[in-house]
């Protein structure tokens, strides 16, 4: 192992440097997202590309997750004769944690890989330089629009994930016990409060920010041709996923601090 600076291994040093670069990139994206000029048209296009086109993935996955969660919940609650609590238990699990985290991880795959590959390909084919040469601020046009689109789309897709999951839970319960649709959803929403839904869903705005900034950074700084594009795409997924999982720990802790009732009350 080689050492570069004061006994710090090269790899650790380059990781720290990369972390610093991503942080500066993210800070610039946040700053520019809040200042004019705003690229409304391109942002709307990105909300469609990244958000609306991810909806089928989220809906189908949500139903599948709901079915599986319902089966597991039934297996646990049956032992205590508490089957009637299945819809509420499933809904709380989905809304508080499973929905946001699953949606975040799924979207880090779909959106992260897409942004990393698209911007990487634009970098190696000089399209980003062509934007700059056309007197367009490429960072604002390509990065800020994607960051804003992800921050807007993630909470909406998480809400879709939650409802799809509940629908999956209903399908499983209906198949098992013949429970009606109105009764299932009445029970599902019986224990859900705003403090369960709002903070857990809003935290996915942070997930969106993480996915968009990490994958945009990797795409924007791609080198080494098509091989580099593949690497940017893969790393976008891996690093976005890790970023989401780590941020989730911090955010859950923060939510419990600000909304003590969300801790289980």
């Amino acid at each position: 192992m080689s050492y570069m600076l004061g006994g710090v291994p090269d790899r650790a040093m380059s990781s720290l440097t990369a972390f610093g670069e991503v942080s500066l990139f993210a800070a610039k994206a946040a700053r520019e997202a809040l200042s004019a000029p705003f690229e409304f048209r391109e942002t709307v296009r990105q909300i469609y590309e990244l958000g609306v086109r991810s909806a089928p993935l989220i809906a189908v996955s949500g139903v599948a997750v709901g079915v599986v969660l319902s089966m597991h919940t039934r297996a646990s609650l049956e032992r205590f004769g508490a089957e009637s609590m299945i819809p509420a238990g499933l809904a709380i699990a989905l809304v508080r944690e499973t929905g946001p985290l699953t949606a975040g991880l799924l979207l880090s795959g779909r959106i992260g890989a897409g942004i990393g590959a698209e911007l990487g390909a634009m970098r190696v084919t000089e399209q980003i330089d062509a934007l700059e040469a056309s007197a367009v601020d490429a960072f604002r046009y390509l990065v800020v629009t994607r960051v804003v689109a992800c921050v807007i789309a993630l909470p909406l897709l998480t809400t879709l994930m939650n409802f799809s999951g509940m629908l999956g839970g209903f399908i499983a319960e209906n198949a098992e016990t013949g429970l009606s649709f109105p009764l299932y959803f009445q029970r599902a929403f019986a224990l859900i409060e705003a403090s369960d839904y709002v903070p857990a869903t809003l935290k996915t705005m942070v997930f969106g920010f993480i996915i968009a900034t990490i994958s945009s950074f990797l795409g924007f700084t791609t080198t080494s041709g098509t091989e580099g594009v593949g690497r940017a795409s893969t790393r976008s997924v891996v690093l976005s996923s890790i970023g989401i999982i780590v941020a989730n720990v911090v955010l859950v802790r923060l939510i419990f601090f600000v909304f003590p009732q969300a801790a289980g009350g």
Partner: protein, 265 residues
Amino acid sequence: MTAAPAPVEIRGEPQAVEVAGPAVRLEHVTKSFGPRKVLDDVSFDVTEGSGFIILGRSGTGKSVTLRHMIGLVQPDSGKVFVRGEEISSLRGKELAAARMRMGFLFQNAALFDSISVGENVAFPLRRHTDLPDREIRERAMAKLQSVGLEREFEKMPADLSGGMKKRAGLARALALDPKVLLVDEPSAGLDPITTGEIDELLVRLKGHGGTTLIVVTHNIPSARSLGDDVVMLHEGRILARGTPAELDRSDEALVRTFMASKNAG
């Protein structure tokens, strides 16, 4: 072909001002990438309305020189002036305003692959003018017509051949009627007939449009047909400068060998 439309009016820009002095001036420009010095104290002037050729073997800093002129690369030391304005010191909106008066044809055309050929040409007009949509489309069509691609308006860039991409890239570079056109390796990857067609378009542009043409190439026939003035770079420095005929008689053996080649590209 219909009559050429009036010069395009760029949003927020005063009408084109005639500038005394050179179209482009490099003063003692030095640039390194890591330990490698790519340009070493390079200085030259480009006369307004002329055809200026930057010749040299691969890796001698030709494209880097061109990129300095549009602010895609900043010099480590020295200054770059375009039509009297020090472009190497400009940032943000001022740099964007300077770029609007220039066109850049990239080596691989760098067409935006997510939009049609027509929209590629319309892109600078949509970004920087207040023209109505109908007129933007008409102007984009007129530019495509001038390069013989009027039938490819609705096609996607991926559906074009290499030569067609380059011509479409030229149409986009000309969309805002630039005073200075920078062209990076117009013959790269093209057969001699297509190269001749591209050269013919560029000659016509210089002759009738009064556009200053700065072309990076290592194709000698192209240099002869386009160049009023030629510099030859070697290892980051200017090895020779003059008209093509003067370079034929250069004292430097390398220059004579280069100029004697039928097609070094």
